[in-house]
């Protein structure tokens, strides 16, 4: 009994899992099977990326019902003789992984942030103790379920075409009834909860230049924030957008800090950002010392350049940013 099986409800995440499966397969030589449930478009996408694809078409299986979904994947794993199961660690994927793990008496790791294969051992890295530590863990049970965070692997590129097989799975009608699905209402501007921030300081020459900042923020999907003087003295932005001691304390995944010197009253509001990019004409500016990526440049040149680069990548990949 050995093989890798991947499944995600989201197409692009399944393409990423395919790259992950490839990594494991490269070390272990195990075959890869990609499973799709009631989603032939995804099946085509996976096949186009060279995967041995199995499409389950059975209207009794309801995506929203973790019970039925876990049963279907359990049957698939048995039929396909797969013991290593990669799922996506989005919300649906995490619900599914616990339930499937229990069915297969499997050890399961969710929110896996990276995978390393050492001979035939799959080491998974995940945050623990509320993010205070990074643990390297390994599943020792026969069945192994690994739920991988989005963006850990690159999407597999389109290449040699793989086959699409139909997989027959029996299923009982779900006990769960879906009454409604609705799009989420967009979050209102709140720099404290934004994942990405573009913060601008007195390095910005004029209020008109705010336009290039807006364009960058849009390309990044970011909220705009600022240092105190930009709001209180220049009044180019409202005071709700101030980062720092007298403003908000933010912990975004990414902070792009433009033309801000990095006085402590500012930095206390951004030091918990996961990744910090600092753009400043002064290579000795304090902000440079707390940056992951340092760019000594005039922000008026760099910002449009960065926006352009982002848009180009976006077009190349044909996926939303």
């Amino acid at each position: 009994m050995a093989g890798i099986m991947i499944y995600s409800d989201k197409d692009e995440l399944s393409f990423e899992l395919l790259s992950g499966a490839k990594l494991i397969s490269g070390h272990t030589g195990l075959p890869i099977n990609a499973v799709c449930i009631n989603n032939s478009e995804q099946a085509q996408g996976l096949a186009a990326r060279g995967a041995e694809t199995y499409l389950i078409n059975n209207e009794a299986i309801n995506l929203a019902d973790s019970q039925g979904m876990a049963s279907a994947l359990e049957s698939a794993a048995i039929q396909l003789d797969a013991n290593i199961i990669l799922l996506s660690s989005n919300r649906r994927g995490k619900e599914l992984s616990g339930r499937l793990a229990e069915k297969l008496a499997a050890g399961c790791l969710t929110d896996v942030g990276s995978i390393k294969v050492n001979l035939d051992k799959i080491e998974c890295m995940r945050n623990s103790l509320g993010g205070a530590v990074l643990a390297a863990q390994m599943i020792t049970s026969d069945y192994k379920i690994i739920a991988v965070e989005p963006r850990v692997f690159e999407e597999m590129a389109v290449g040699k075409e793989g086959p699409i097989n139909n997989l027959k799975i029996e299923a009982q009608a779900a006990e769960l009834e879906v009454l409604e699905q609705r799009a989420k209402v967009g979050d209102t501007a709140n720099i404290e909860s934004a994942n990405i921030l573009v913060a601008v300081g007195q390095g910005l020459k004029s209020e008109n230049d705010m336009l290039i900042i807006k364009e960058l923020a849009e390309a990044l999907g970011a909220e705009i924030a600022c240092s105190k003087p930009v709001a209180t003295d220049k009044k180019w932005l409202p005071e709700e957008r101030i980062i720092g001691l007298s403003g908000k304390k933010c912990k975004p995944d990414l902070a792009v800090i433009l033309g801000i010197s990095g006085q402590v009253q500012f930095t206390v509001g951004i030091r918990d950002a996961r990744t910090i990019v600092a753009v400043n004409t002064d290579e000795n500016a304090l902000i440079m010392q707390m940056a992951d990526y340092i760019m000594v440049a005039d922000l008026h040149d760099l910002v449009p350049e960065m926006t352009r680069a982002l848009l180009v990548k976006k077009r190349l990949n044909g996926v939303r940013l």
Partner: protein
């Protein structure tokens, strides 16, 4: 109707310090995971709306007998606990089996609530695993609950949409951190907490082999090196590439 809330005892994360990349847990008081407190608050609000009894279940070290006072102070009516000092770092599958045994001792259960993830590990597995063990329907990431006689209508919050579903009771629900704001227990309730009933089981009572059921090994557990990378980039494109590779922006 009994409303069961599973809560996990964890060290108070705000007080954990890192030394030589190792977490220092000595002297750090135990508490419950923060989303578990949202689950408890959900139960209390359901009780206030339709009546019933709120029962906290938990498995952990002997200290749990003290820690559980926190949940009892916040308004839970009783507690069912598995206590054993071997239960310090148990994996999700073990927690699920121990808690499922506790749940089997409770009659007339309506809803079994969990946080979407524990405060320390955030793996989110225990709820779905228990649903599987008990053969119950489960809905995760719940941000709204409406009871309807023998069924429940819940809103599940996914990354890009909300989904309203209906399931029959009893059901397992895991709630989101933003479903509510947990109440602060009053001092009066805190002082009464120790007098509320606690049912205590030992691992042997359940007949569970803790050692034999290991499915995960931890190879290392270190604080990430907290240094900023300090990489100098030359132009916008290089910067964008670096950010894409790091995964902080979406391709």
């Amino acid at each position: 109707m009994n409303i069961v809330v599973a809560m996990k005892q964890i060290p108070d994360l705000q007080q954990v310090r890192i030394r030589n990349r190792q977490p220092v847990l000595d002297g750090v008081p135990m508490t419950f995971g923060s989303i578990d407190k949202n689950a408890l608050e959900t139960a209390l609000q359901l009780k206030e709306a339709v009546g019933g009894n709120v029962i906290v279940i938990s498995a952990g070290t002997e200290e749990l007998e003290d820690t559980v006072k926190e949940a009892l102070a916040a308004g839970a009516d009783e507690a069912y606990l598995v206590l054993d000092d071997e239960l310090e770092h148990i994996e999700s599958s073990v927690s699920a089996h121990l808690l499922a045994e506790l749940i089997k001792q409770i009659e007339n259960i309506g809803i079994i609530l969990f946080g979407e993830g524990s405060g320390d590990n955030y793996s989110g597995q225990v709820g779905p695993r228990i649903a599987e063990i008990l053969g119950l329907p489960e809905v995760g990431y719940v941000c709204d609950i409406e009871l309807e006689d023998s069924r429940v209508k819940v809103t599940r919050s996914l990354e890009d949409c909300e989904e309203v579903v209906r399931v029959s009771l009893p059901a397992v629900l895991t709630v989101m951190a933003d479903i509510n704001e947990p109440r602060i227990p009053s001092v009066t309730q805190i002082l009464k907490a120790g007098k509320k009933p606690q049912q205590i089981l030992e691992v042997e009572d359940i007949g569970f082999d803790l050692k034999g059921d290991k499915k995960i090994v931890t190879l290392s557990s270190l604080a990430p090196e907290n240094k900023r990378k300090q990489i100098t980039v030359k132009n916008g494109e290089e910067l964008v590439d670096a950010l894409l590779t790091e995964g902080v922006i979406r391709r």
